[in-house]
């Protein structure tokens, strides 16, 4: 029920007096309301729940998680998944 998934904002548009965006979830695109994340811009990743973006994902914090894991030695000897260092094109698979 509290399922919310990350997607990428493709473009934004005013509709019925509110700001909305087309958001891509690994190949699937949906119209999403941006009322709760007025700061979100094209290219941002947002967490979406029942048609509303609830947060703009913080890329620095996401990276920090993997840096901390690296410090713990959790990632030692195993190369990081490409998406974690931001260098790969996105793939289209999605839940």
């Amino acid at each position: 029920m509290c399922l919310a998934i990350p997607g990428k904002i493709l473009d934004t548009e005013e509709r019925d007096g509110t700001r909305t965006a087309r958001v891509e979830f690994g190949g699937i695109t949906r119209r999403v309301h941006l009322d709760f994340v007025p700061e979100a811009e094209v290219g941002d990743y947002v967490i979406v729940h029942v048609g509303f973006a609830l947060s703009r994902l913080n890329a620095e914090e996401a990276e920090r998680t993997f840096q901390l894991l690296e410090q713990l030695g959790v990632l030692e000897g195993e190369e990081l998944n490409s998406a974690a260092n931001g260098s790969s094109p996105e793939n289209d698979r999605q839940e």
Partner: protein
């Protein structure tokens, strides 16, 4: 998909599990609150990856499961009226009410529709002024802002044929209830990451201080949950009890202010009954008086109806982490997702349904926890899947 694949990395998961094993020196009981997290733990077999000292018990954080029986009965009553279109999140249709469920109302000709967003109900109301459109607005703090926004927007447009049967529940009062229960065994909590995306984690920091219990706000992917468990174990082993935030890519201490603002405009805090658990003080939201015209309970005069829950379902103890779904004599026999006795077997996030889908074979029979599945399989990242 960015922000998903890297958090399903099997190698990272294995190493985090090893880190937890290295750190743990005695037994700890941890609870994840959210049903979405329960689902991830079961789907990826994370409970079986952990050292035997870590016991995971599953909390009451499945809104579909804890929505009171009388709300279902009211929805069924309203949906049976000839001029009503009842719009609901899909999970609610098969949840049993006292006598029937919404799916049967639909099968018998009732106009019951499934929507992904409450805004779709507004669209239907605009397009069909001759119908009374009612949205079954259930959920925790994650969903309340969206439901509140639909009502706010409906009121702004002056829509007269739209209302909401609302039943919103709040998570922190339920954690308080669990911690004050004499039978409580939980020593650390994984707080629900999407509830906290909206609300922040100030309330959880207060709970942690007051009850001297570690709480870590966790995300929903396997690596998120293993990291949250690792953070909890570190606190417990070191004798610390603070609130920490594993899901910092989405959650801030203060939460989402615009979402909180719309909740406060439309709703106010009230006492609420939780299905399987009973009444919890200040654990829910109801409409503020200004929005009474959009409150389906008042529009349809069903506010005071009550219902008795069936006694044979063990969901009360399951939802409080006192029993595992497999401890119930009806589990997977008289109670299955097709013929559920209680809500936790219906919802995809219910603990009973999660065990039904992922844990029906006895653990001892396989001899080991690695069945060639994630994270033991040679592929490093699992995507797609069974959902």
């Amino acid at each position: 998909m960015k922000y998903i694949d890297e958090y399903r990395d099997a190698g990272v998961a294995r190493r985090l599990a090893a880190e937890i094993s290295r750190r743990v020196s005695r037994s700890w009981v941890l609870m994840e609150i959210c049903g979405g997290q329960t689902h991830t733990l079961m789907r990826y077999g994370i409970d079986e990856l952990l050292p035997p000292q870590i016991e995971l018990v599953h909390g009451p954080g499945c809104p579909v499961c804890v929505t009171p029986l009388e709300v279902l009965d009211k929805a069924i009553e309203i949906a049976s009226l000839p001029d009503v279109t009842l719009v609901s999140y899909g999970d609610m249709l098969r949840v049993p009410g006292s006598r029937t469920d919404l799916f049967h109302v639909k099968a018998n000709g009732g106009d019951v529709r499934v929507a992904y967003s409450p805004m779709e109900a507004l669209k239907i109301a605009r397009a069909h002024p001759e119908r009374r459109v009612v949205f079954l607005g259930i959920g925790f703090e994650t969903t309340a802002p969206a439901n509140g926004m639909a009502v706010w927007q409906g009121a702004r447009e002056g829509l007269r044929n739209f209302s909401m049967l609302a039943s919103h529940l709040l998570v922190p009062p339920a954690i308080r209830m669990l911690l004050e229960s004499p039978g409580n065994r939980v020593q650390g909590f994984i707080a629900p990451g999407h509830v906290c995306t909206v609300m922040g984690y100030r309330e959880y920091a207060e709970l942690s201080r007051r009850y001297r219990v570690p709480i870590v706000v966790g995300g929903f992917e396997p690596v998120d949950l293993l990291e949250a468990i690792s953070m909890l174990v570190a606190q417990l082993e070191e004798g610390r009890t603070v609130a920490e935030n594993q899901y910092a890519r989405s959650v801030t201490y203060e939460g989402n202010r615009p979402a909180q603002a719309i909740m406060e405009k439309v709703f106010e805090v009230c006492d609420r009954k939780w299905r399987g658990i009973g009444p919890i003080p200040n654990s829910g939201l109801r409409f503020r008086r200004e929005f009474a015209a959009y409150d389906a309970e008042q529009v349809f005069g069903v506010a005071n109806e009550t219902a008795e829950e069936p006694a044979e379902c063990l969901s009360a103890q399951v939802l409080q982490g006192l029993k595992k779904p497999v401890d119930c004599p009806a589990f997977a026999t008289r109670c299955t997702p097709a013929t559920p006795l209680g809500a936790p077997m219906v919802s995809a996030e219910g603990a009973c349904a999660a065990y039904y889908h992922y844990r029906r074979r006895p653990r001892a029979a396989t001899g080991d926890s690695c069945r060639g599945a994630w994270p033991c399989a040679p592929t490093r990242t699992v995507t797609g899947g069974s959902k």
